[in-house]
């Protein structure tokens, strides 16, 4: 039997590293459904979970997989599912239920080319806006974008920590290339891994309010069987969890749901900045596209262009303030991503009229070559 934290150096692909990260983070329940290129996450979880006393179940579709992890989460366990585009679409209604019921869970999307069945075995980053807006209604979501198998391990742990801390679903927006790429992954010692678990309520169980925020804006979360007799509903509800069909309750609930993310941006937003301090031209990228973007920055610098990279590790919530500040001092932005313009629009929105913003995109199936970034750079600036 392997321990929960399989300390050591491994040569594994991103999907397996993601599963190992989940186990190391303390995940004990996985509701799965096979889909290329995310299947290896489910396969590895089905093998690993029993070693740590956890449970894998293969559900009948992605709707059921997503719903099962919410039921699992209310028993007090950390839960996860993994999918790709078509499954991600099916999960969207339930993602809204997770948000409104403040149920922590982690959803992995190993993106492939779309729309529809698209390119099952080839990568893309075209579900980025779906991650933000795919479920109906207004909400904030947390989405992380790993760029290597090592980050699939590390950021899966971060995803669980953020989801437990803020009682919200967290997306890992990976892609086929990172998911299927094998690289060295270093799994540290158990003591070196920081894990966070949801705050449990203490004290009186009678008339407990499971949606009454604590000091950080997040309500302590009881588990099934503890005697708190919670009622959890997808209807607009008050702090007690009871449905109230009123404008005021809707406003209070929305403020609570949005506030816990919007008031903690500094804690949630993570970026990596490469040669950005003196940069005139900022490449914005994330996930696998950031790998070619580092090369593009180096190539530009060799040619005397002062380029720098802003790599988004957290894509949602978006680092508005950072882009707005950069827009005041740089010549402009180029967003590198495997889609025809999604995050580039966010960059454009934040840059406003202060600095121009361009897209180095790709319709899907391959990475954006650094040469394409350089040629857009030369043409634009």
């Amino acid at each position: 039997m392997k321990p929960a934290v399989d300390t050591g150096k491994h040569f594994i692909n991103g999907d397996i590293a993601c599963a190992e990260g989940a186990i190391a983070a303390g995940c004990l329940f996985f509701g799965g459904y096979p889909i290329t290129p995310a299947t290896e996450v489910a396969e590895h979880m089905s093998e690993r979970l029993p070693h740590v006393g956890g449970t894998y179940i293969q559900m009948e579709d992605e709707i059921a997989a997503m719903t099962s992890i919410l039921g699992g989460a209310w028993t007090g366990k950390k839960t996860m599912t993994a999918t790709s585009g078509p499954g991600f679409s099916l999960m969207m209604e339930t993602v809204g239920l997770a948000i409104v019921t403040e149920t922590p869970c982690v959803v992995v999307n190993v993106q492939r080319g779309g729309p529809s069945t698209g390119l099952p075995t080839q990568g893309a980053q075209a579900d980025m806006m779906q991650a933000k807006w795919g479920s109906h209604g207004d909400y904030e979501i947390i989405a992380l974008a790993p760029s290597s198998p090592q980050e699939m391990f590390d950021l899966t742990i971060t995803a669980f920590n953020l989801s437990e801390k803020y009682r919200t679903p967290v997306f890992i927006m990976s892609d086929e290339i990172v998911g299927h790429m094998s690289e060295k992954v270093v799994i540290p010692k158990k003591e070196a891994i920081k894990t966070i678990s949801r705050i449990q309520p203490r004290g009186k169980k009678n008339n407990f309010h499971p949606f009454k925020p604590g000091p950080n804006g997040v309500a302590p979360m009881p588990s099934i069987g503890q005697g708190y007799k919670v009622h959890v509903t997808g209807l607009t509800h008050d702090e007690k969890g009871y449905p109230v069909m009123s404008v005021d309750t809707q406003a209070e609930m929305m403020e609570r749901l949005l506030g816990k993310i919007r008031n903690n941006l500094d804690d949630i937003i993570m970026t990596d900045q490469y040669l950005l301090d003196d940069a005139d031209i900022v490449i914005v990228s994330y996930g696998v596209s950031s790998r070619t973007s580092y090369t593009a920055v180096d190539m530009a610098r060799e040619q005397g262009i002062k380029a720098g990279l802003l790599r988004l590790i957290t894509v949602w919530p978006f680092p508005d303030r950072l882009i707005k500040e950069l827009a005041l001092r740089v010549k402009g932005f180029i967003t590198v991503e495997i889609n025809m313009g999604q995050i580039s629009r966010e960059v454009e929105r934040c840059a406003g009229y202060k600095a121009p913003s361009y897209l180095a995109g790709h319709p899907g199936g391959a990475v954006v070559p650094p040469e394409q970034v350089i040629s857009i750079m030369k043409e634009a600036f």
Partner: protein
């Protein structure tokens, strides 16, 4: 004759009050609706099992009977339309000691949620599914459902339903349910006893409870509330162990009630534990 003596009313607590979120009463169910009677039978059954209420969880989907989870005073979950069963599955597999009851309607469980029902039955997932079958989508105003009788009128089939309804006990049996029963809300004791048996049954248990919707089904089909109940009384027969194939609902014939399936078979959580947890601790 003098003025009538003013009787001072002493409030007597309802015997199921400890299981009801009294602050949420009155409920939303219409006069003449049968959901409350099925709900009462369910609470009575839970009480009669003697199981600690904290070891129960109720999950509902969307619709009139889907509001059940909002009135019961235990850990209770009102989920999305059709998804009560996968939510319940997640609870059961992550915490097998929980007695999970799905309380929902025919539209929720058998149209939008039909796929989840057959797979939970196939797995012999140890949950109890109670279906309040009122033959119609009540909450949205009376549209045809997967249970609406052939030629019955609904707001989307004013010329008569061209489709045929599911035989729910047959569907449950064919999919692998190991406990299947059908009652009407009028047979309140049989229904409560059956639900109690279903809760105590290890494996997937299904209880169908026929229940009137006078507002959205009866009105269009020239059935007054009491007519429906009279039909439940006069046009039903109890036939335990009846062939599930004979259980189609046609009130012109006799509608068969009773317990049709009660099979012992290891449940999904038992199988998983045996194959994965016991072996992985050995190796």
């Amino acid at each position: 004759m003098g003025s009538p003596a003013v009787k001072k009313e002493v409030p007597v607590p309802h015997p199921l009050e400890d299981l009801v979120r009294m602050e949420r009463i009155p409920h939303i169910w219409c006069s003449g609706c049968g959901t409350g009677s099925v709900f009462t039978a369910c609470l009575t059954a839970m009480k009669n099992t003697g199981i600690n209420y904290d070891d129960f969880a109720m999950v509902s989907g969307i619709g009139c009977s889907g509001r059940g989870a909002g009135y019961i005073n235990i850990d209770s979950f009102h989920t999305t339309h059709g998804r009560a069963i996968p939510f319940a599955t997640g609870i059961k597999m992550a915490r097998p000691e929980t007695n999970v009851i799905v309380f929902s309607g025919d539209g929720d469980l058998f149209a939008i949620g039909g796929n989840h029902f057959i797979h939970a039955a196939r797995r012999n997932m140890d949950i109890t599914v109670i279906c309040v079958n009122n033959f119609i989508y009540g909450m949205t105003g009376g549209q045809a459902a997967a249970t609406t009788p052939h030629e019955a009128k609904s707001s989307t089939s004013m010329g008569g339903n061209p489709e045929s309804p599911f035989n729910l006990p047959l569907l449950a049996y064919a999919a692998g349910a190991t406990y299947v029963a059908r009652w009407t809300m009028l047979h309140s004791r049989d229904l409560a006893d059956s639900i109690e048996e279903a809760i105590n049954h290890k494996g997937f248990s299904f209880v169908e409870a026929l229940s009137p919707c006078p507002i959205n089904y009866g009105r269009r089909n020239k059935q007054k509330p009491l007519d429906t109940l009279r039909e439940y009384h006069a046009n039903t027969i109890i036939k335990n162990n009846a062939d599930p194939g004979e259980l189609g609902i046609d009130f012109k014939q006799k509608v068969i009630l009773g317990k049709f399936v009660d099979i012992e078979k290891p449940s999904h959580d038992e199988q998983y534990h045996r194959l994965y947890h016991e072996t992985s601790t050995k190796s």
